[in-house]
Amino acid sequence: MRLVTAIALLVALVGCAPVPSTTPDMSVGSAVPPRPADVVELTTPPSTAPNQAPACDATASLRPTAALPAPGAMPAGSPMEKIAARGRLIAGVDQNTYLMGFRNPSSGQIEGFDVDMARQVAKAILGDPTKIQFKVLTSDQRIPALEQGEVDIVVRTMTINCERAQKVDFSTVYYQAGQRVLAPRGAGVTGIDALGGKKVCATKGSSSLNNVANAPSKPIAVAVPNWTDCLVMLQQGQVDAISTDDTILAGLAAQDPYTEMVGEKFTQEPYGMAVPKGNEDFVRFVNAMLEQIRGDGTWASIHQAWLGRLGEAPTPPPARYRD
């Protein structure tokens, strides 16, 4: 018995440190929800706030000088003549905003209200609405693309404001939108005022992002590259609401019956076609084209085709000119 005790003591002395079994660590497999690429949560409002630009009458554009020239007979030396010589108009549009500018998944073609408006420009210059090359731009690529001459014109839910008017030239207003809020049905969100401290999604470089970041209720602005990325984040529960122009929100709501537009329009968003700075004759030409489609019912039929579901009267916004 004593021997057994001695041996037990010896074993206890010799075998010092316990030898643990190597179980792999299973705690690392935590759920990390996927996010769209390039998502930024804004802690401070974007530096280029619209109120930094001096006040101006941005929606007043240049008056058309004469009647619209016939397609193929562009004034010599004008930007339109260069486009006619190239044989196609290069237009910056969107492919992610349902109803305004989107890629039809079944045909692979880009369609929408803005796209049809751009086709009207191609038709006026070249006589054929299909002689157009689309360059897809995100919100923050619009002004650089114009400045670097990558596109002739941008027709992409672009709000006319004084800050942008310093960098590009705008046509007259071709659509009057206003910013609202899209939230999940039954979430109790009533408008932008109810979103204090909540996450609200908008695209980078859009005026909507500025409006969200500067809203008095202080929501947390989340910036993504495309509007559909906002819908992805809303559906995945990563943001509480999306806030932008009612036209864009209508397109998002049409893709998800569990969302609804709430609250009143809290901003006015006049859309204009943008061309590179200093192309006065091109602006006047586009304005003449807009005058024509406002009057002959083309504007109304394009509006009916895409935005009829908004339930508003198909009346084009009146043109305002500064000279």
């Binding site: 690429a37 998944p105 079944s106 692979g108 360059k135 731009l137 559906q235």
Partner: protein, 430 residues
């Protein structure tokens, strides 16, 4: 009691060593210890070499292939999903089948790689990213597909999110696993293919001990040879030669498996991954529709790497089969680059439809056909290189079969022969 032992012990010992029979007994004992130790240690060396070969054949090489397959299958799934999206409408059954096959292969290869998590604990993070995020990826692709079927443009956003997840998390994790497993292959090859210095040294030590014993006996007994010791020396020499020849054969086989196999397979595997990445970038450039400069830039980068890797593959190719496959791959790569130029030309000119049809169409001069041919050339070359490598390793393993047993038995035989030899002399002192 203790005092007596300390006084008499040394005297007895020195007495024993000074007497000739005592010395002879001591020599016999030393020879037994030396022979058994030499046999045992040599056996251990051979065993370690054989263990490294087994590790190479059954674990590190298959695992490195599994890791490469995980990467390849996932990169292909991503490129295929983008193609299906670009083709418009409901994706074709062929593209869907390819995507599903890729996911199945990735999951199967991943389960093999994950099985080794206890052996490579540093890969825990990468492997759990892979097994955790792959289902998330497929979920996003299916969501994109459902929206696509309903005509909702948000489908494209889900596809972008899926692709972002693939490129930001899954592919880097797969690359990490592949790198770690490749390091293991090289390590096992180094261990299995090392020069047999310790075996040679041990054998020479045994021979030297026997030679010294022989010299002592010759001086003591005036007999030129002791039969037992001669036999023991012969046996030790045979054992040494056996081990050296077998080891050198293994070294040569492992070197073959490296130059004719894994070195080529690694370069070709990287070429294949570059092919898939370039194809994904080519497709995504078109999906981005005019704002895909970053994808096009990366295509140019990866395509340059691909050309370099194929040239390296040509340089490394040692067998006619691999050389033919790589030569054909080089030709198809050129055809693809021409097709790519045609795509960019059409797209930059504004003819998007023509660009898509060159990229995806069934035209034999199009990018899709060239890409498919290039990919199958690389598969062919990789399969052949891998086969050469596994054949060489199998030959090496065959060479070492039974060597441990033979070495140990020869060691015991040398010990017995030495004892018998010394015993002959010892008997004369009775």
């Amino acid at each position: 009691m203790t005092a007596v032992a300390t006084r008499h012990g040394p005297n007895r010992l020195t007495g024993l060593v000074r007497s000739t029979p005592g010395r002879l007994s001591l020599i016999a004992l030393l020879l037994v210890v030396t022979s058994v130790t030499v046999g045992g240690l040599t056996g251990l060396s051979v065993q370690s070499r054989s263990g490294a070969l087994e590790e190479l054949a059954t674990r590190s090489e298959p695992l490195s292939f599994a890791a490469q397959e995980v990467y390849r299958a996932m990169a292909d799934a991503d490129a295929t999903a983008a193609s299906a999206f670009l083709s418009g409408g409901v994706e074709s059954a062929a593209l869907r089948g390819r995507y599903e096959g890729d996911i199945a292969k990735a999951a199967a290869a991943l389960s093999i790689a994950t099985g080794e998590i206890t052996r490579n604990p540093e890969l825990t993070g990468a492997l759990s990213t892979l097994s955790g995020q792959l289902p998330v990826y497929t979920g996003l692709v299916e969501t994109a597909r459902t929206h696509n079927r309903q005509g909702n443009p948000v489908g494209a956003a889900y596809l972008r999110e899926a692709s972002g997840l693939m490129r930001a998390q899954l592919l880097p994790a797969a690359q990490e696993v592949y790198r770690a497993e490749t390091v293991n292959v090289v390590r096992d090859q180094d261990r299995a293919g090392s020069w047999p210095w310790s075996e040679i040294l041990l054998g020479l030590l045994g021979l030297a001990a026997l030679g010294l014993a022989q010299r002592y006996l010759t001086l003591r007994t005036n007999r030129l040879f002791n039969v037992g010791l001669v036999v023991a020396s012969g046996v030790t020499l045979v054992s040494l030669l056996w081990v050296v020849v077998a080891s050198l054969l293994v070294v040569s086989d492992v070197s073959d498996s490296r130059t004719d196999g894994t070195a080529q397979a690694d370069v070709l595997a990287r070429a294949r991954i570059a092919t898939l990445t370039a194809r994904g970038d080519e497709t995504l450039t078109l999906v981005a529709r005019g704002s895909g400069q970053s994808y096009e830039k990366r295509y140019a980068e990866v395509s340059g790497q691909l050309t370099g890797l194929l040239a390296e593959g040509q340089r490394l190719a040692t067998t006619p089969g691999v050389r033919a496959a790589v030569d054909s791959a080089v030709g198809n790569n050129q055809a693809w680059q021409e097709a790519h130029r045609a795509i960019r030309e059409a797209d930059d000119k504004g003819d998007f439809t023509a660009a898509v049809s060159v990229a995806l169409g069934a035209d034999p001069a199009g990018a899709a056909a060239a890409f498919d041919k290039l990919d199958s050339d690389l598969v062919d070359a990789i399969t052949q290189a891998r086969k050469t490598s596994t054949t060489s390793v199998a030959a090496a393993r065959g060479t070492l079969t039974g060597s441990v047993v033979v070495v140990v038995l020869l060691g015991l035989l040398a010990a017995s022969a030495s004892v018998a030899g010394v015993w002959q002399r010892l008997k004369e002192y009775r």
